[in-house]
């Protein structure tokens, strides 16, 4: 069941309606059953993995709070890490590791003794394992008390709006909300529905539409010209942003309707003026997770420049690998690690140059924004391409130039030309006013309604019918 389906609309309307009809004590069981049902719509068998992860981390969390001895606490933490990373490795990385080991041993004239395993990647496994890991690590660090109620903890792990693709919610934020009574609040519901609608617009009107062009080019590398590669790469930047932020908006909106606040996951990342800022605005729940539980654990920036760069590189390579078991994601992560290091290292020199030539602030900011966007696009080539060879063909194609006219898919490009400027306009309002919905709320009712009608009409008329899964479901 995907968010951009009639099934979800009906499922969500039913769950939300019953949720507010039930007394407070009956809400968590409803949400838990709904969440498990939501997950089982993909593959009922894999619910077992969520149950295992829930049970292990609940028990280890309880136990960790009971013992003071550092060694035993560390052992309990190790148990949680081993269980969650074990699940993740088995279902996501086993075959990647096996194939690479086999390739390595083949060069030595032998084969890997480990066989590949025939399993489907469980939807959302990277998200819920990281979520439960943050719970046990926070207890270990003493910044969180364990949740005494198994049902509520299970709901924290499996809460359906964010179960399969985040935001990777922290226990500190979500668990207290699950204990509180969520009252019927019209403004909150209206705001949540509006956010869901905006997310749906980004997904079906923009992401799924430009995906047609991107797939046509990236799926037939060798049959297109450099202009098409470049346009497809720009459009993929738009696609992945609209796809993932659209998903996040629907997730956050759904939770908001039910009375819960999830963390923000995107903040107009293509307006970033540096790669560092980009990662403060892109997939915020993952980047803060990596910062808090990996980068800082490695030492962060506390032990000199060279170790800072090393830590950035390790964090981003592992962050890349988190996305998928493929060398493309490793390269994508490494590229971002290098770019983050370079961004940090060259900042003083760049500032000096701008000062030396008295570059006006708006020119400097515009240049930085354009440069950051293009660096992100460079990474997206590796992210989108099926293989390293394909990525290299696209990249060398673009760089070889001259950029000839890209291939025309009039319908797709006409839709994109109508919808993308509209999104940019909303983003400009958000940058200036903080919230486009708050800005709109101050307008007369006729304008407000006209805007929402226009969005619904756009979704009905321009959305891609029977569109694809969200890209991040595969992670």
């Amino acid at each position: 069941m995907i968010f951009n389906s009639l099934d979800y609309l009906i499922f969500f309307t039913l769950v939300a309606s019953v949720h507010f009809l039930l007394p407070t004590g009956g809400r968590w069981p409803l949400l838990l059953v709904a969440s498990y049902g939501f997950y089982m719509a993909w593959n009922p068998a894999y619910l077992f993995l969520i149950l295992c992860s829930t049970a292990v981390d609940f028990l280890l969390g309880q136990r960790m709070a009971e013992v003071d001895e550092p060694v035993r606490r560390r052992l309990l933490l190790f148990g949680s890490l081993a269980a969650n990373f074990g699940l993740l490795f088995t279902f996501k990385y086993w075959n990647f590791a096996q194939a690479n080991l086999d390739r390595l041993l083949t060069t030595l004239g032998t084969h890997s003794p480990i066989p590949p395993i025939d399993v489907l990647l469980p939807v959302g496994i990277s998200f819920y394992t990281f979520q439960t890991l943050s719970y046990t690590i926070d207890i270990y660090r003493g910044v969180l008390r364990p949740e005494p109620h198994l049902g509520r903890f299970a709901l924290y792990v499996a809460f359906f709006p964010q179960l399969v693709a985040g935001p990777i919610e922290r226990a500190r934020n979500l668990l207290p909300q699950l204990r509180e009574e969520a009252s019927f609040d019209w403004e909150r519901i209206e705001s949540g529905v509006q956010l869901m609608l905006w997310g749906l617009f980004k997904k079906v009107v923009i992401a799924d539409r430009v995906a047609i062009y991107v797939d046509a080019v990236y799926g037939n590398v060798g049959q297109h010209n450099p202009g098409s590669y470049l346009l497809a790469t720009y459009l993929f930047a738009v696609q992945i942003y609209c796809d993932f932020s659209g998903y996040s908006d629907i997730a956050i909106g759904s939770a908001k309707v039910l009375g819960y606040d999830l963390m923000k996951n995107f903040e107009r990342p293509y307006f970033s003026k540096s790669m560092t800022e980009f990662w403060r605005r892109w997939h915020i729940s993952l980047s803060t997770w990596l910062r808090d539980y990996l980068y800082i654990t490695l030492g962060g920036n506390r032990y000199g420049l060279s170790k800072t760069y090393r830590n950035l590189l390790i964090t981003m390579v592992l962050g890349g690998l988190w996305h998928g078991a493929s060398w493309n994601f490793v390269i994508w992560g490494a590229l971002h690690g290098v770019l983050l290091g370079l961004s940090r290292a060259t900042l003083p020199a760049r500032d000096q140059i701008y000062a030396r030539f008295s570059v006006p602030t708006f020119v400097r900011d515009a240049w930085r924004m354009i440069a950051t966007f293009h660096l992100a696009c460079l990474g997206w080539i590796f992210f989108r391409a099926d293989t390293l060879e394909t990525a290299w063909m696209i990249l060398s194609g673009i760089l070889s130039g001259p950029l000839s006219a890209p291939f025309r898919d009039t319908t797709t490009l006409a839709h994109a030309l109508l919808a993308i400027p509209l999104m940019l306009l909303v983003h400009v309002i958000q940058e200036r006013a903080g919230s486009a919905r708050a800005w709109l709320a101050d307008r007369p009712v006729a304008i407000r309604w006209a805007c929402w009608y226009a969005m619904i009409v756009a979704i009905a008329l321009m959305g891609v019918d029977g569109g694809a899964q969200f890209i991040y479901f595969q992670f």
Binding site: S5, L6, D7, W186, N220, G222, Q223, T410, T411, A414, H415, L418, W449, W452, Y453, I456, V457, A460, L461, M462, G463, V464, D465, G466
Partner: protein, 325 residues
């Protein structure tokens, strides 16, 4: 609940009801407007244009129906002189059996239907439903019961079809363009592909049907089309057309799908033309392909000549039928 809160809540509910009613009104008004645009212009989307024009045309020979492998493989100027009838190519990229069924029915409704129709299909057509793709014909749902019934094959589609606006999903910009720009002539419908596949390209085996290949709903669509053609005295020939393979033979599941499809076709009284890679591999090497599934222009001409000579053997009297008044 205090009176003030109760009044506010009631006004919210009332506002919601008014908003929804407004939405229904907008849906109907815009849907009505788009229908009028459709009536007053020639759609630029090939699929919709063919379907709109199909019942209004007069046919003198053969109509080819199918997917991109019909559009790019059947060259009327090669087929027509060999059979002595006119040939038009109604293939549409990305479509499948569902679309073929609906377009075929509209062709058969013409005041002067063709002498014969040729249905090109892919083995996967019988196990991978293409209802979503055929939704491009949804604007006709209000005026064609078969379109409405076929596209509304499940509850989700029936809900979507209740919206007058949603029927024009993805067609807005193209319809708007059709009102201001002249619509290009489609000619005889054949669209040649240029270029050649890399002879060393690895062609992966296609994902076709599994153990139970024939979806009865989809097979029924073809059976219905064959029966309708028979009822108005139109002959039907069914074929696949060749595809490039870099491995020997056809996978067992695909072979089973083809065999079952052939039974359905022959039971329906149509002619099965076995022109596929199992019979034609020797005649269509990589030089004739643009990609693994599509012949290039040279290959299409070669295939069309072969097709015409095969059909001439099966239907030697076609020229006489095609020139009927």
């Amino acid at each position: 609940m205090s009176d003030a809160v109760g009044v506010r809540l009631r006004s919210r509910w009332l506002g919601l009801v008014v908003f929804v009613l407004g939405l229904v009104l907008i849906d109907r008004l815009l849907g009505f407007g788009l229908e009028r645009v459709l009536d007053a212009s020639t759609p630029r989307a090939r699929a919709l244009r063919l379907a709109v024009e199909a019942p209004e045309r007069n046919y003198d020979g053969i109509v080819v129906l199918g997917s991109s492998r019909a559009t790019h493989h059947f060259e009327p100027s090669e087929i027509a002189p060999r059979l002595g009838v006119e040939v038009v190519n109604f293939g549409v990229d990305g479509q499948g059996l569902v679309f073929t069924r609906l377009l075929g029915a509209r062709v058969l409704r013409a005041a002067r239907p063709p002498a014969a129709i040729v249905v090109q299909f892919d083995p996967g057509d019988f196990c991978k439903p293409t209802f979503d793709r055929a939704f491009v014909l949804a604007p006709l749902a209000g005026r064609d019961d078969l379109v409405r019934k076929t596209l509304g094959h499940d509850w989700r589609s029936r809900i979507k079809l209740t919206s007058s606006l949603y029927r024009f999903n993805s067609l807005g910009p193209s319809l708007a363009l059709s009102t201001v720009l002249p619509t290009p002539d489609m000619g005889d419908g054949f669209v040649p592909l240029r270029g050649r596949i890399d002879p060393d390209a690895v062609v992966p085996p296609r994902d076709v049907c599994g153990a139970d290949p024939l979806d009865p709903t989809l097979a029924a669509l073809l059976v219905e089309l064959l029966a309708e053609a028979d009822a108005v005295g139109v002959r039907v020939a069914v074929t696949l057309g060749p595809r490039l393979r870099d491995f020997d033979g056809i996978p067992e599941a695909e072979r089973r799908a083809i065999t079952e499809a052939r039974l359905v076709v022959e039971r329906g009284g149509a002619v099965w033309l076995p022109l596929d890679e199992s019979t034609e591999a020797g005649r269509f090497g990589p030089a004739y392909y643009r990609d693994a599934s599509h012949l290039n222009e040279e290959g299409a001409r070669r295939f069309s000549r072969l097709f015409a000579s095969e059909l001439a053997v099966r239907w030697p009297d076609l020229g006489r039928l095609g020139s009927r008044e």
